[in-house]
């Protein structure tokens, strides 16, 4: 009996070790990444398990393994809204492509701007691919008296309205600020600790509206809430009757973009291999079907396109934060 119990403990210990990913530090893989990938790739999410970024990565795991021809190990390194992971990526991770990390826009733009010392600079994040976006959506209660976006913004001229959203210095936050600026409306942003945490505040009537993502807007619509506008370039397939803010005359396209990034000095060949792999993942029929169901919009931006895109976002966000006096330092 004694041995079996000891065996039980050993098994627990071994399980714990393997679960926590002790195999993280891998041997360097060859020269200049021509034989990349020669062994398993570590795919780190700088967020807690269970969120949209995490769920997406776990959805991608299988097709990504097929595309890369090697195993992919997913782990989480949460903290500081992603900043802990990204600063590690920028400063400590070996640039060999065997450790890749999920990265989000506008997080990697806004954190360095607003915090000053986020531990990394936006330029340190080298993008391999941007594969997904979730545009902002403005949602109100159906019995709140705001039938259209115009109604809502008109009401916000004469009185202060509150908008809940996910966290400070997020797409929901800047989306609210931009709308307030563009429409000259009195909107107060109330940050909650996550997308799901903000929704009860609208359902329970503690805030007048939510600036949330299209994915959560789908859930809220099922519960009788009204989607007034979306902040995408074009109308969204899941909300064909909901106008974009652009067509209502407001220059605001805002939301979260998700992609995958590597350390600054990663060889180009490795980045290209990763970009090709993620492009292939986006063509996986199951990924397409699940993404559609969940409201994730597939994006296909390679390394160069991603860099351009981020530069444009940074310029716009810098201007916005300057206007609201939210730049650090």
């Amino acid at each position: 009996m004694r041995t079996s119990r000891r065996a039980f403990l050993t098994t627990c210990g071994a399980a714990a070790l393997s679960l926590t990913g002790c195999a993280t530090r891998a041997v360097p893989g060859g020269s200049q990444g021509t034989d990349y990938p020669a062994h398993s790739v570590q795919y780190i999410l700088p967020f807690d398990p269970g969120g949209e970024s995490d769920t997406t990565a776990r959805m991608q795991q299988k097709p990504l393994e097929d595309a890369l021809g090697t195993s992919v190990v997913i782990s989480n390194r949460p903290g500081g809204g992603g900043a802990v992971g990204w600063s590690e990526l920028a400063n400590q991770v070996r640039p060999d492509g065997y450790t890749i990390m999920g990265a989000n826009i506008p997080h990697v733009v806004l954190q360095p701007l607003a915090r000053g010392e986020a531990g990394y600079e936006t330029e340190d994040i080298k993008w391999a691919y941007i594969f997904q976006s979730t545009p902002n959506a403005l949602v109100v209660s159906a019995d709140g008296g705001h039938e259209t976006l115009e109604d809502f913004l008109e009401a916000a001229q004469s009185q202060e309205l509150t908008l809940g959203g996910s966290g400070s210095f997020t797409a929901n936050h800047t989306g609210t600020l931009t709308l307030a600026r563009e429409a000259d409306a009195q909107l107060t942003y109330v940050p909650f600790s996550g997308t799901a945490a903000a929704s009860p505040a609208l359902l329970g009537g503690q805030v007048d509206a939510l600036m949330t993502y299209n994915t959560e807007a789908l859930n809220l619509q099922d519960k009788g809430m009204r989607v007034l506008a979306v902040a995408s370039e074009e109308r969204l397939a899941e909300f064909p009757d909901v106008p974009t803010l652009v067509e209502s005359g407001f220059d605001t396209v805002e939301g979260a973009w998700r992609g995958v990034a590597v350390p600054p000095d990663t060889p180009k060949a490795v980045i290209d291999t990763l970009a090709d792999a993620f492009a292939q993942v986006n063509k996986d029929p199951e990924i397409i079907e699940r993404s559609e169901e969940l409201g994730y919009h597939l994006e296909d931006m390679g390394p160069a396109e991603s860099a351009d895109f981020i530069e444009r976002r940074k310029e716009a966000d810098q201007k916005l934060l300057e206007q609201f006096d939210m730049l650090s330092g």
């Binding site: 004694r2 119990r5 039980f8 403990l9 098994t11 627990c12 210990g13 399980a15 714990a16 679960l19 926590t20 990913g21 780190i44 807690d48 398990p49 269970g50 969120g51 995490d54 769920t55 776990r58 959805m59 782990s75 989480n76 390194r77 903290g79 500081g80 809204g81 900043a83 802990v84 600063s87 590690e88 915090r115 000053g116 010392e117 986020a118 531990g119 990394y120 009185q159 202060e160 509150t162 809940g164 966290g167 400070s168 210095f169 107060t188 942003y189 109330v190 940050p191 600790s193 799901a196 009860p200 505040a201 359902l203 329970g204 503690q206 859930n219 099922d222 519960k223 699940r290 169901e293």
Partner: protein
């Protein structure tokens, strides 16, 4: 009454579902018993597995895993003062003293019984009350969470055994620790001293291991004789009939079980609070209702029963807002939410009507998993207990040391957390010798974010009002909790006054006011 209920019942008792329950329970228990590996992390690791299963099987596996992980957290809490998950914080308060007295087997049996009762209550709440009371959840806004947090702070009064002042000082240390990192409202970076990784703050489990497990380990080193005596007693005096006697004892106190289960179900329903709050509240209420509160913290069985009943009730309670409103009631529920979504099942009240068989199979499987906790828990839990008891101190201490390091690293896969854990451990050891109770510090760490977010969000949400702070008193539920806070603050003073009066009367008539041992039944 429930469409599809009979189909669900037939499906649950199929061999495949039962097997999934057993697998989930065993896996969950192993993960739960490892400090640092929370139910949430374990569930996330299971997520890809569920892709290959049909939705029902996936949900059943996850439900069983979740329930067992919460339960498994109590083992290490009792045996080595290391709560396996934050849901077992209060279990250490009496569980570890019981181990030190050589009564760890009793404690394991008691928490197993309590967990089954609590788990079943949560499931019953989910099944019958779920759709009815889901709307109550929405009445809880930022202001209410603020007051809930303040109410939680009043527990310091009962956690601080000796000096109320030192208790509050410890609570404020905890609150201060909770402010490290990025502010939940406003996004300011605080107390990181330029260390990037500190932006993530101090994770609760790291604080728990530091403040509870490290000092316990140091005690074992400095006073090995104490343990030897207790272990010797437990090894040599194998009491026959301990199992049925302990189960009977726990079940003979329905008030404690019922109260704790209701607290767990209700707190679990609230999206802003989870098992980490529920187990502390249940412990505190058990102590407050007890006729012999002085025995709490010294190895009182009721003290381990209350938190473990409550945290297992949280499992079912937390699923109420998830399945009816699509709002995860606890962090682990977010992962289950992900599974539902990935299978194209959008939570909401129509989920019950449209997906009746699936949802009821899930709920019933949860009940089966909870029942399975008893046999599996008694075997695994007592196996672990005997191993720990038989391990000589000079081997146990290094084993615990390894556990603290793995556990604190595993939380975020971050080596900094190991450093933080060791630092907090040494600090906790020192602070305890100054008379600052570690449980009160941890209470501050748990409640700080709830209070801070509630205050900030409440003020912002009411910014249209002339006086935003008035909303903290004019909202009906807020006003009620505020009054409860006042009563809770007055309670220790009242109790002391009553004690004083009773004592003076006792001396006057020459009678002793000491209650007889074992006669601590609740009124």
């Amino acid at each position: 009454m429930f469409p599809g209920f009979e189909d669900a019942l037939a499906q649950v008792v199929s061999p495949q579902m039962l097997l999934l329950c057993v697998v989930g329970v065993i896996g969950g228990m192993a993960v739960g018993a490892t400090p640092g590996l929370s139910a949430t992390v374990g569930l996330a690791l299971l997520l890809p597995v569920t892709f290959t299963l049909d939705p029902t099987s996936g949900l059943v596996l996850m439900g069983a895993f979740y329930a067992a992980a919460i339960f498994g957290g109590s083992f290490t809490a009792i045996l080595v003062n290391a709560p396996g998950t934050p849901s077992s914080i209060a279990t250490t308060f009496d569980g570890y003293p019981m181990t030190k007295q050589g009564r760890s087997e009793t404690a394991i049996i008691a928490v197993t019984t309590a967990s089954v009762v609590g788990g079943l209550t949560g499931v019953v709440g989910l099944l019958f009350l779920g759709p009815l009371i889901a709307d109550v959840v929405l009445e809880f806004g930022p202001q209410e969470y603020f007051w809930l947090g303040i109410f939680g702070l009043t527990m310091i009064a009962s956690l601080a055994a000796k000096s109320l002042l030192k208790g509050f000082a410890a609570g404020f240390v905890g609150l201060l620790i909770s402010t490290i990192g990025v502010a939940p409202v406003g996004g300011d970076v605080r107390f990181t001293f330029g260390v990037t990784e500190m932006q993530g703050g101090v994770p609760l489990i790291v604080a728990l291991i530091g403040f509870f497990t490290v000092p316990a380990m140091l005690d074992l080193i400095t006073n090995p004789a104490g343990r030897s005596a207790a272990m010797h007693k437990e090894r040599t005096q194998r009491e026959p009939g301990l199992l049925p006697r302990t189960i009977r004892y726990v079940l003979s106190r329905p008030l404690n079980l019922g109260r704790s289960a209701v607290i767990g179900t209700f707190v679990g329903m609230l999206p802003g609070a989870g098992g980490n709050v529920a187990n502390l509240v249940a412990y505190n209420e058990a102590k407050r209702a007890s006729k012999t509160p002085e025995r709490f913290g010294k190895g009182e069985v009721d003290g381990v029963v209350a938190p473990e009943t409550a945290n297992n009730a949280v499992v079912g309670g937390g699923l109420i807002p998830l399945l009816t409103l699509g709002i995860p009631g606890a962090p682990a529920d977010a992962v289950i939410f992900g599974v539902l979504m990935l299978h194209g099942l959008r939570p909401g009240s129509e989920l019950f009507t449209e997906q009746g068989p699936l949802i009821f199979t899930f709920i019933l499987a949860l009940a089966v998993a909870v029942l399975l906790l008893a046999p599996v828990g008694l075997v695994a839990g007592r196996g672990l207990q005997r191993t720990v008891v038989r391990t000589p101190t000079h081997l146990l201490v290094p084993a615990i040391a390894l556990l603290t390091i793995i556990g604190s690293y595993a939380v975020r896969n971050n080596p900094l957390d190991v450093v933080l854990m060791l630092g907090l451990g040494v600090a906790g050891y020192g602070l305890r010798h100054l008379g600052l109770p570690p449980p009160a510090i941890v209470l501050g760490v748990v409640l700080g974010p709830i209070i801070e977010s509630g205050l900030g969000q409440g003020l912002l949400a009411a910014s249209g009002d002339a006086y935003p702070w008035m909303s903290f008193f004019t909202r009906p539920i807020s006003a009620v909790i505020a009054i409860v806070v006042l009563l809770a603050l007055a309670w220790p003073l009242l109790a002391r006054w009553r004690e004083h009066r009773a004592a003076s009367r006792g001396t006057a008539t020459g009678q002793t006011t000491e209650t007889k041992a074992g006669a601590n039944d609740e009124a």
